[in-house]
Symmetry: C2
Subunit: 200 residues, 2 copies
């Protein structure tokens, strides 16, 4: 693996950052390579030299963000190792994402579009759900092991609920920011859940 061509690497990073904003703003279908290229101050053909197609560019953006995000939640990270602390870490992720411009919007827009089979983000969205579900369910089970949560809870169902709550609140928040305090409502749900799952 060669390192060189530093300007190329820098360009690629810059393209990813700009493309993220464009895909967030217009969705995959509505985004235009010409507009992205213009914002990077590069010709469209120049852009396509770095990413061979629009499809690959989207996937690259999603992978890029995913990698950064997985470091914030997941087994072993954030100091927590499962249980209530893990769920609170999830609430922290929601908090944090709300402050990165375009990020929540990218996920909402692409998840919406990607519902269609054949959409280039479809596989990514499916993978993301499965990974998240597995991580959250594992955190719940770890909580049971440690006696924080009552035995016999349905870890998968609660994981689904947590993820759905997170995604659903994000959409509401984006559509009507003044009406919903996404982070607070999600945190409230998490705390209620932690209390409800406490062993009798």
């Amino acid at each position: 693996m060669r390192r060189g061509y530093a300007t190329g690497e820098a360009r690629k990073e810059r393209i990813l950052a700009v493309a993220l904003l464009e895909f967030a703003e217009h969705g995959y279908r509505g985004a235009s390579l010409a507009r992205i290229a213009a914002r990077v101050e590069l010709s469209q053909a120049g852009l396509l030299h770095h990413f061979r197609s629009k499809e690959r560019l989207l996937v690259a953006v999603l992978d890029y963000r995913d990698e950064l995000d997985r470091r914030r939640f997941g087994p072993g990270h954030d100091g927590h190792d499962g249980g209530a602390a893990a769920l609170r870490a999830l609430a922290d992720v929601v908090d944090h994402n709300a402050r990165v411009p375009g990020l929540v919007q990218l996920f909402s827009v692409i998840s919406g579009e990607a519902v269609t089979p054949g959409h280039p983000g479809h596989e990514w969205a499916r993978g993301r759900y499965r990974r998240l579900r597995a991580d959250v369910a594992a955190a719940l089970r770890a909580g049971v092991e440690r006696g924080e949560f009552r035995a016999g809870l349905d870890a998968e169902a609660h994981a689904d609920r947590l993820i759905a709550m997170m995604d659903g609140l994000q959409t509401q928040w984006l559509i009507d920011p003044g009406q919903v305090d996404m982070a607070a409502v999600f945190r409230g749900y998490v705390e209620d859940l932690i209390a409800a799952l406490r062993p009798a």
Copy 2:
């Protein structure tokens, strides 16, 4: 208000039905008037005679579906008048929608796209959330009045949670149908909530 030109009215209905499927399949931006027209067996110009622009067609589709749906949940309908029965009616709506092809997908795709200000569905999505939130919050308060739910609950926050759960599960279900039993998970949430809100 004249009635006449029956074929025109029938055509309009047919266009709406086809457009719903196309918008559900490709989103607003990905849908094509030419393709919709072809499926209705009409020229593209013929289609635009009935709906003056793509934007108006989307809004017409959304309003059309909204009207049908509001009859299934909302104050006074479904036999219920608030409280636990209303929340269960909401679970019935989820059940029902899952069986109408394209319907859940239309809402998920358009809600995702509409997150962008300036999208023709933006206003619609905002209105839908506000109406739903008001209806669900009213149902929760009615439950308090009748002594089904404990006094002092935060009706708006629980309404937000219910709607988020509904929308989030729909997206998960569409992206990975085999992994999530949307209707069952939602019903589980509703039942848990009803139990949790019971007065001490």
